[in-house]
Symmetry: C2
Subunit: 524 residues, 2 copies
Amino acid sequence: MTYRDLDDTAAFDALKDFSHSKPGIADLLTPETVRCYTMAAGEHLMFSYAAKGMTPEFVSLLQDLADECHCTDRYRELLGGAAMNTGENRAVMHHLCRGSEGLPLCVVSAEHAGFYASQRDKFLKFAEQIRSGAIKSPSGHVYDTVVQIGVGGSCLGPKTVYEALDGYVGTDGNSKRLKVFFLSNVDPDECADIFSRINAASTIFIFVSKSGTTQETVTNFSFMKKLFSDMYQGQCLEAQTVAVTDRNVSLPDRDKYLASFYIDSEIGGRFSVTSACGGVMLSIAFGAGIFSRFLAGAHCSDVLALNDDIRKNAALMDALLGIYDVNILGYKANAVIPYSRALCGFHYHIQQLFMESNGKQTDIYGRRVRYETCPVTFGAVGTDCQHSFFQQFHQGTSYVPLEFIGFSEGQMGQDFLSGGHTSQHRLNACLAAQITALAVGRSNADPGRAFDGGRGSVLLFGDRLTPENMGALIAHFENKAMFQGFLWNVNSFDQEGVKLGKELAGLALSDSGNDVLRAYYSFF
Amino acid sequence: MTYRDLDDTAAFDALKDFSHSKPGIADLLTPETVRCYTMAAGEHLMFSYAAKGMTPEFVSLLQDLADECHCTDRYRELLGGAAMNTGENRAVMHHLCRGSEGLPLCVVSAEHAGFYASQRDKFLKFAEQIRSGAIKSPSGHVYDTVVQIGVGGSCLGPKTVYEALDGYVGTDGNSKRLKVFFLSNVDPDECADIFSRINAASTIFIFVSKSGTTQETVTNFSFMKKLFSDMYQGQCLEAQTVAVTDRNVSLPDRDKYLASFYIDSEIGGRFSVTSACGGVMLSIAFGAGIFSRFLAGAHCSDVLALNDDIRKNAALMDALLGIYDVNILGYKANAVIPYSRALCGFHYHIQQLFMESNGKQTDIYGRRVRYETCPVTFGAVGTDCQHSFFQQFHQGTSYVPLEFIGFSEGQMGQDFLSGGHTSQHRLNACLAAQITALAVGRSNADPGRAFDGGRGSVLLFGDRLTPENMGALIAHFENKAMFQGFLWNVNSFDQEGVKLGKELAGLALSDSGNDVLRAYYSFF
């Protein structure tokens, strides 16, 4: 069937009309609406959206839009193996990395699910052998450090999950943690710095590149090989390196590697953290059990995202509210603000997930869209950001809708009581205060001291940042990006826009390309 | 005198008219314009702005705007001690932390300059005593680690300079470096994690809070005191702590501290990295010589910023081009992209500097402005970001003007040659390629593979990220923010917008405040 562009739907027009008479956020926000407009976003993760100014009519119009754009139908189509990556004529199968129970599969997608499960079984077993010391380094050391070499989706998602769970695993009873470094940037300082910080003899390396030819990754692996070989008299780095590539790629010297695990073309980089691209590193660093719990959390969110009723589908509701912000209210940016220092780099992953997936100007039929698509997406951690750019959110000329994240408890199990309050209480009091201050505002005769209010936000919250909740968070945002792609009618799964820069970089190195390119390159 | 709002100037109207007939960026970009529209931004730092589509007429109109808004006059007024922080009726004196030679001072500002110089002399001497081991910890250890406890400007600026210069100092002949941790977030995990990573007996702590009462900083210092006292049988943390506060603040138990250094009310947090707020930590970590070189670099940029001719004033030219982007072209965001992993956190500081300074909706006379002020400001490091959100910059529906930063050489002195190119060459080829690809674009019959071009950027570049160049970078952006404040006619030096959230957080903890606040707080 042919899907309509967003502005061709009746629901979009109805929402536009509704927006002119919509009551203000401050007027709609009461303890009752705060309780009422809250739903599950995972097994233990909740999504609260009352501070977007909700009414039954607003929900009903958003539901109409979801239906008219066939959001959940298209998700089922995707799970059933349809070529939803239209530009590259491929299926999109990352959901199946975390399980298939309760998902509507077909023969094709069941085959992928089986392949991912078999790879997962293999790397989980391998990881436990590394952790137990059953597999030692060629020089006889038990591995105690991991270096993941990969860029983009092979770095950002895996890195944010590693950072998010490191503190949790450290306070777990069964607490063996390996230290992980991420080598992504072709800047030579990055490789040199990481090499200076590790004991290479007890370090396991993971080479992650779907194509096996990503320029930064190949260069960095070769640089690391040289540093290693200089230090250890010509020993071969491949013998303590795991390769993760597409199963159809034939990596040079594949048999020299310690092990190889595979994904396939149906998994895009920014959606690959639950595949071997993230899984090999995470299960070596934290253990098979932690990684499996992370997958279970993601799978739970994937099942919730099948609900046609948007009041039971947090990812879809979040996606719709974002579309309303961009295409009805005209907001140009969006920020993710976790009140948890373990998520201090989460926005880098979210930035890629949204801006690379939906920063597009043509629809799935190759036509220019007539509306804005993905807004600028950024973020930082609370409470730090309150002392930084929140000034603009409260009193700037343009508002940035916010997505807050918070947890009742910290990860490390230590806290400090002063004046009757723990630091965790102080942290969460700040979070509640920001949501309220932005939404409600405060008048003042001096305009420089006035707060307009009416500034909306949503909140994802849970008991603690566990592996399950981290899985749910990752899947929530992946599914939100997918649904927004359906609503904007763009292909969220390719990235044609990164190609020209790559080509020109090659030309600059070969001293060809246009004169302007050479003039800039000559500065360096 | 009374200053006009931006849209009350004749130059603004003239620029608006000009924009309708302005030739496209791709048409104006040639090797000649690339060379021509480049100027010094510091002693060894250059600013290239050809990729904004420059013509003599455009420059002349921007010059008119600078003149009509009295940009350099107001900078001189500021240096002369006028109360440019209108909301708080205070002078703005941070420039004088790095020297006063060549700056037009008066009696008042000369007094501040003398005070900052005397504090600097004291803390530089103190830092060398710490580094040499002449001052040891109470338990007799030579200090080898620093923990800076502070939030907002007491963290972000100092942290980015520390990160930027750590690799440089490590390869310097005289290479003693102390490891520094930054404790800013009230999240208890942050304090617990840092304490678990340090040997507290050989760690020097720096308590940085202008008022001495910043909630996060006081709580974190008390938490750290408790952890320390639990481990070392009631020993007092103050004895190995340096306090940095406003000279008019009387900190409880001031005499228990190892040392105290001072700033004054005329230095705002986000402009304080060259004061004792950054200087104590940086000179302990890297030595008095490195910190002095950093200040010299900043001072050089401050002197350049006095030029009335915008072709010789990089900070002012950069500021004007940013105003054109926001107020004539309607761009809503702005990104800073360094191709240097040492600057991977630079955007956090820049974000605060711009969004907190100029994220305002009232002018200096207390009237609502009729135009957009500070756009969303974010960033990330290249080449990583090319594999992330650059898709949107190339093919999204809204463009984000970029400020690139790059250097000819890396910091660590190690590189890797493959295929005839070093990694540093590859890094800079990518940078040149992105500027060119965005500006020039490429047509394609398939709209999904087409690049519109016409997307502008500026570039700051230098030989290497030295202390001098880092000082120049910091001062360049500080002065750019200041000039944009003059152009928008807002007070860049207060932050009224952060107050409501602070108050409500206090109410949430005391179980008072409005019902909505309590409903949100009850989630945790």
